[in-house]
């Protein structure tokens, strides 16, 4: 008995000293040989939400390199996916005061965090360096520099965009050739890639029959929002202070989508379109750059084409997320240095190489590098989305984005599936979403 007690004591003691004895594998320390720099001696934790394990490894490598370059002790923490509670964990840590010094936020969450004072206005820190807001795409920078007090952009700086993405249409080239329809890439190159041509291609592929369908998309706000935007409409009025889903153009865009789903060969609304596309059963699949790593594994010939031009002209979304600084960080200067270093063209090119996103810096070098990250061969399709009137995703500074989306998702779904008429939708939608603005 005495022997067992002593053994237990040793085990408990060993666990205790193990917890106290040194750094973990995820901690990277600047080597002692690094030249003394301004930030030496600082220690930071930072976190992103990588799209896959490969990207997480890239970020870990970048963390090592930056630790040496900046002379900062860096601890990189790969965050979980959206469904694994990235925001939930972050919110809990912020409340408990244990959140990382620098972390990534989806573009739609910036307002919620900024107005609650949990992320730092880095304007003064940025102004002390050679930072320029113009180095990044204006859509994300509008929201990242929006001052809720003055109601204008430019005065503050909530962070810098980690990366951007646009929608493209992933094409099953084998199915397109088998169906004998016009090649969307050629139609796009000739400026003939319109909703009408798009419909013809989809129906042509669907005519192959069996399990093959012409088109698939997810049913969250991004894919259906494209139809609304491309018709010349939008979710909000110009200053994003009220709903514009009932405008003539917005309603026309949704009506076109509903008609398309009712009459064309498509993956049913609300069903997973990626799995059947990867199984070779879908001709065109609308998704962002983040889907590329998964689609690279398919065993058929695939490529990407830009989204078709709608009645309102070319349209796309500009998706983005940003690195922001914890308002309670003890090292704001070092945190800003890290944010700036994480958004250089070189670092963004390293991340973009894994395929899941597009550099957020307006840099020809970064974009040239991005074009080489194949397949797909036609990476230009994603860049076309950046240059052709994209609508930047963003938060609602004058309302609740999650509440707005919650109502919009259900109502749009009801129209597309035929449960609600487009007329009833147009009459009610802005009344139903009103609570998102009034609180």
């Amino acid at each position: 008995m005495k022997l067992r007690k002593l053994g237990l004591l040793v085990v408990v003691l060993s666990m205790f000293v193990a917890a106290c004895s040194g750094e973990t594998a995820s901690t990277t320390v600047a080597p002692d040989t690094t030249e003394v720099s301004e930030g030496e001696g600082d220690s930071l934790r930072w976190r992103t939400r990588p799209d896959n394990d490969e990207e997480a490894a890239v970020y870990a490598g970048i963390s090592d390199t930056l630790a040496a370059e900046l002379g900062i002790e860096l601890q990189y923490e790969p965050g979980g996916t959206e469904t694994a509670g990235y925001q939930q964990n972050l919110l809990t840590e912020l409340a408990a005061g244990t959140a990382p010094d620098v972390f990534w936020l989806p573009g739609t969450d910036i307002a919620d965090f900024a107005t609650r004072g949990v992320i730092l206005d880095a304007r003064s820190l940025a102004d002390a360096t050679d930072h320029s807001d113009d180095d990044f795409y204006p859509g994300p920078m509008f929201h990242l520099t929006f001052d809720p007090d003055s109601g204008e952009a430019g005065g503050v700086l909530w962070g810098l965009p980690r990366d951007v993405s646009t929608f493209g249409l992933y094409m099953n080239v084998d199915l397109i050739q088998e169906a004998g329809v016009e090649d969307p890439r050629e139609l796009a190159a000739n400026g003939e890639w319109t909703w009408q041509k798009f419909g013809e291609v989809v129906d042509g592929i669907g005519a192959l029959g069996g399990e093959v369908v012409g088109y698939g998309q997810s049913s969250w706000w991004g894919p259906y929002g494209y139809w609304i935007n491309a018709a010349g409409g939008g979710f909000f009025n110009e200053d994003r202070s009220a709903c514009a889903l009932d405008s003539t153009e917005s309603v026309a865009g949704l009506a076109a989508l509903a008609e398309f789903y009712a009459e064309s060969s498509v993956v049913p609304w609300g069903e997973d379109a990626e799995a059947p596309f990867r199984a070779g059963n879908v001709g065109l699949f609308q998704n962002g750059r983040w889907a590329t790593p998964g689609i690279r594994t398919v065993d058929f010939d695939f490529d990407v084409v830009k989204l078709p031009d709608g009645p309102g002209g070319p349209s796309n979304w500009l998706f983005w997320g940003a690195y922001v600084i914890n308002a309670n960080t003890s090292n704001p200067e070092a945190a800003w240095d890290l944010v700036a270093a994480l958004t250089t063209a070189d670092v963004q090119a390293q991340v973009a190489e894994s395929g899941a996103n597009v550099p957020s810096r307006v840099s020809q070098a970064a974009l040239d590098a991005f074009l080489t990250f194949t397949p797909p061969a036609n990476n230009q399709a994603f860049l076309d989305g950046l240059s052709e009137n994209p609508t930047a995703e963003g938060p609602l500074w004058a309302g609740s984005w999650p509440e707005f989306v919650s109502v919009m998702d259900a109502e749009v779904g009801a129209v597309v599936t035929g449960a609600t008429s487009i007329e009833d939708y147009a009459a009610d939608i802005c009344t139903l979403t009103e609570s998102a603005f009034t609180g």
């Binding site: 053994g7 085990v11 193990a18 004895s21 973990t24 369908v213 997973d272 799995a275 989306v405 779904g413």
Partner: protein
């Protein structure tokens, strides 16, 4: 629990002292009183610091909770000073409880200050290195077990070997996990002022506890054996009580308070009374979630309970291979709900899922019959509002039926076989025995299974959260799978409405509580629980 002889003598002596007009108070008693006075004043000062935000910056609801706790501690400590002066047992009891809590809290903050909790990652990374040596220690311990009942010279040799192995293993284990750097880190951290102070307070509190528990204190306070049992009982259950208060009772009280505020989880909370509850009365999303969960419960609970009873009856038969089937039916209960939901997500896929594929193949097979030209149904299991909740029911039933079956099986195996034998002699058939023996005897088990399944069903969260993502929000098509817990989660973590989310949680609690009461009442009226 009898007192030691010396204690009884001391008590007699102290009783004699108490009965005398002037009672002498030993020095340790004065020290205890002073310590409690210090405790009360310290709590008061801490309360002032929290209230003014000087030195201790706590905001929002935790600030109010802390203020309440410190105020209560201060009052009790001062009361105990008065009681200790009067030699009243209540003072001893209060001193014991307060110092027990103080020791736990100061110990916790000591570990927090030396960063032990943040070292869990390091524990995971470093402890693995010592596992081979831990195995050596385990072998040494096993060898010591073989040393009994053997010849003396063998016993000596085995014990020597055992101790040698354990000593070598222990030494290697400690060195491999970083004994020296670990101790060095601990020592460098513990000498920092906050850690030293917390450690000193923890040690003092433990010393006071020993004093309060000592026989001389028993004698001085004239504590009866009943009163001593209370103190011993508190000591025994204190780990559980502290754990309950920290992880369940405390959060429950806090969430009740939060439900009366507009707290967003980050900033200050404003008290709004029943505002959140009143808003719930007119919230169409909350109403929809209640209707959804009501439908879900009405369908899913009977399907999880009744077939489980039938299955358990079948598995209770003495047939070859039954143990294999019992294990098979239990497998879904062992598997995590996330894993199960991910598998069902693949099965439900309307275009390439196995269920629709099976329906297609089955229809084609049936169509082989001349004259038949049936069209294969291809339900959109998850994306159609009319089937989405049904899909959740199927996954829920799949996950819970195995566990319920095991519970019924355990109940069935407690049924005396003589009851069935007697029934057979009376000419009862299979149905007669099931209806007149199995069901009545299993009634308490059925109540338990029904209640636990109801609670699980009304807290539905994981299935819609996983099955709908990422094509749909957890609400499902046209909010068909929106449940109260999903709505609670969205308000708490997506919309920064912690107060509103807490109110949803409490309403859901009341609904579950009411249903549970109805279950109990019904069964009590039927005489199930009393029998």
């Amino acid at each position: 629990m009898g007192l030691p002889q010396s204690s009884k003598e001391e008590r007699l002596a102290v009783n004699a002292t108490i009965s005398s007009p002037v009672r002498a108070r030993p020095g340790w008693l004065m020290a205890l009183g002073l310590w409690q006075l210090l405790f009360g004043l310290g709590s008061g000062v801490a309360m002032g610091m929290v209230a003014s935000g000087t030195g201790i910056e706590v905001i929002g609801t935790p600030r109010l909770v802390l203020l309440g706790a410190l105020g209560l501690a201060a009052l009790l400590a001062l009361l105990s000073v008065f009681d200790i002066w009067r030699l009243a047992h209540r003072g001893r009891l209060i001193a014991f409880v307060l110092n027990l809590i103080l020791a736990a809290v100061a110990g916790f903050f000591t570990l927090q200050e030396v960063n032990v909790f943040n070292g869990l990652d390091a524990l995971g990374a470093n402890f693995g290195r010592g596992l081979p040596f831990l195995a050596v220690m385990a072998v040494g311990w096993l060898v010591s077990g073989w040393a009994t009942g053997v010849r003396p010279e063998w016993e000596r040799a085995l014990l020597l070997t055992s101790r040698g192995l354990m000593a070598v293993g222990a030494g290697a284990l400690l060195l491999s996990v970083g004994l020296l750097p670990g101790l060095w880190t601990f020592l460098t951290r513990i000498v920092q002022p906050p850690a030293v102070i917390f450690l000193a307070v923890a040690v003092l509190a433990v010393l006071v506890l020993r004093l309060v528990k000592s026989s001389q204190a028993t004698a001085a306070f004239g504590s009866t054996s009943k009163q001593l049992e209370v103190i011993d009982g508190i000591a025994f259950v204190s780990p559980n009580i502290l754990g309950f208060l920290a992880f369940l009772g405390g959060p429950l009280v806090i969430s009740l308070f939060v439900s009366l505020t507009d707290w967003d989880g980050l900033g200050e909370a404003s008290f709004i009374g029943l505002g959140n509850y009143i808003e719930l009365l007119t919230d169409p999303f909350f109403h929809r979630s209640l209707l959804n969960i009501l439908f879900f419960g009405v369908v899913a609970i009977p399907l999880s309970v009744i077939p489980a009873l039938a299955l358990a009856s079948a598995l209770n038969m003495k047939l070859p291979g039954m143990r294999v089937f019992r294990a098979l039916y239990f497998l879904p209960a062992v598997a995590g709900v996330v894993g199960v939901a991910l598998i069902w997500k693949q099965l439900y896929n309307a275009t390439i899922g196995y269920i629709n594929y099976a329906l297609l193949q089955l229809t084609e097979f049936v169509n082989l019959i001349p004259g038949l030209e049936l069209t294969a149904p291809q339900p959109q299991w998850l994306s159609n509002p009319s089937t989405a909740m049904l899909s959740m029911v199927i996954v829920f039933v799949f996950s819970t039926i195995g566990f319920n079956t095991v519970l019924f099986l355990a109940g069935l195996q407690g049924v005396p076989p003589t009851l069935y034998e007697a029934a057979e002699l009376d000419g009862a058939g299979v149905w007669g025995k099931f209806r007149n023996i199995t069901i009545p005897v299993l009634a308490p088990t059925t109540v338990f299974v029904s209640i636990t399944t109801t609670i699980l069903a009304l807290q539905l969260f994981s299935e819609p959260f996983i099955l709908n993502a990422p094509q749909l929000s957890p609400n499902g098509p046209d909010n068909a799978t929106l449940t109260p817990v999903i709505y609670l989660y969205q308000n708490a973590f997506e919309r920064f409405n912690q107060g509103y989310a807490s109110a949803i949680g409490w309403v859901l609690f009341l609904v579950i509580f009411a249903i549970t009461i109805v279950y109990f009442r019904t069964q009590r009226e039927d005489g199930v629980l009393t029998s």
